[in-house]
Symmetry: C2
């Protein structure tokens, strides 16, 4: 079983029983998530911005407009912290104090580098698109050279990484189990609704299978 | 219409048409969200940690164990950035380049202060609990003095705040509308599953209405 080695920054000190360093477990969380929150320091202040991402092996790809201040800052190789959180459910205990949530989160520390060669950029955008909507890349018009130039792509290595996971029922104080209060877990998950076709779509264009059966859960 | 005044840190420069400073709109996003991502600087490095929160008026409450390093750090009044993101859907365009997501996010900059008086702490924990599960507070055993002492509560003022929102269909290049590619929006939302009763719950304990009809959507 391959694990990420804990470092001073990634060792989980608070509730260490929830810590996960197993590589496959980290991959599964990253592969199920849609949004990461990127933290960086700008003029001494912390800034946290949500954005999409994709993963291939031990690399996380970020991308955005070449005009983005954030991407220009990150491309300089500053320290970043990228966090992905999956919310799995409310944990309703008999006491207010023991309420909790079931979740899975991954925290990555590191420095991103610019992906500048054409093939590398194209591959990263394919990884990104397939991460969000598996099956999409082969159907859509690929990026033109002009679009590629207008896109900044960053690669962040998965080196300093940890995950934290809580699962299962509430844990109450022994004397509280006698209280007449409903307790348990309310599962929550990011669930697709019905696809909304674009108004300019020719009548009869079928909704692709990968949209109809969209599901973030990963095996 | 009351608005948060943009500052150098909160003025949205990238895609400013997506910026929202309206107070009620910011409240609605915060009230629908369950998780925030707190960013702070620790030994020069950015750190981003997911956690719960609650809102009352122009105050966001955070809480956690008094033993938590993060809360001890934040309680010192360091600069923080707290970001809440709601993921609303995939925006599937005809070209890879114009893919996007529908989302609503709020970014708050500021410094948190410790809530130290007993009544203030209790009220913040009530706000927190009711934020996550409206209706829950009045049913559960309230915090004991010992539990209150073991809990750190922080208050973050809503002063430097902005929101960013994308809604609606894909926007494709004019010549791409002729491509035979399905395009549109796949809505996604955090949806409850069936409640899972705790194994030690007495048989016949009814699932409360506020759990059975749990819904994050806010009017």
């Amino acid at each position: 079983m391959s694990e990420f080695a804990p470092t001073a920054r990634t060792e989980v000190r608070r509730l260490p029983q929830r810590a996960v360093y197993d590589r496959e477990a980290v991959y599964r969380i990253l592969d199920e998530g849609l949004v990461c929150h990127i933290g960086f320091v700008a003029e001494g202040n912390p800034v946290v911005i949500p954005t999409g991402y994709g993963r291939k092996g031990d690399t996380v790809y970020l991308h955005g407009s070449a005009a983005s201040r954030m991407l220009r800052t990150l491309g300089k190789g500053v320290n970043v912290c990228v966090t992905v959180t999956l919310f799995d459910g409310l944990v309703l205990a008999r006491s207010a104090f023991h309420h909790s949530v079931n979740y899975r989160s991954v925290v990555i520390f590191g420095r991103a580098t610019l992906v500048e060669d054409r093939e590398g950029k194209l591959d990263a955008l394919r990884v990104f698109t397939e991460h969000v909507t598996p099956g999409r890349w082969q159907e859509v018009r690929p990026p033109s050279d002009k679009e590629l130039q207008a896109t900044t792509v960053l690669a962040l290595p998965l080196q300093e990484v940890s995950a934290k996971v809580r699962t299962g029922p509430p844990v109450d104080d022994e004397e509280d189990y006698a209280l007449p209060v409903w307790a348990g877990v309310l599962p929550l998950s990011l669930t697709p609704g019905l696809p909304v076709a674009d108004e300019r779509l020719p009548a009869g264009t079928e909704v692709p299978e990968y949209v109809r059966r969209y599901d973030r859960k990963r095996p």
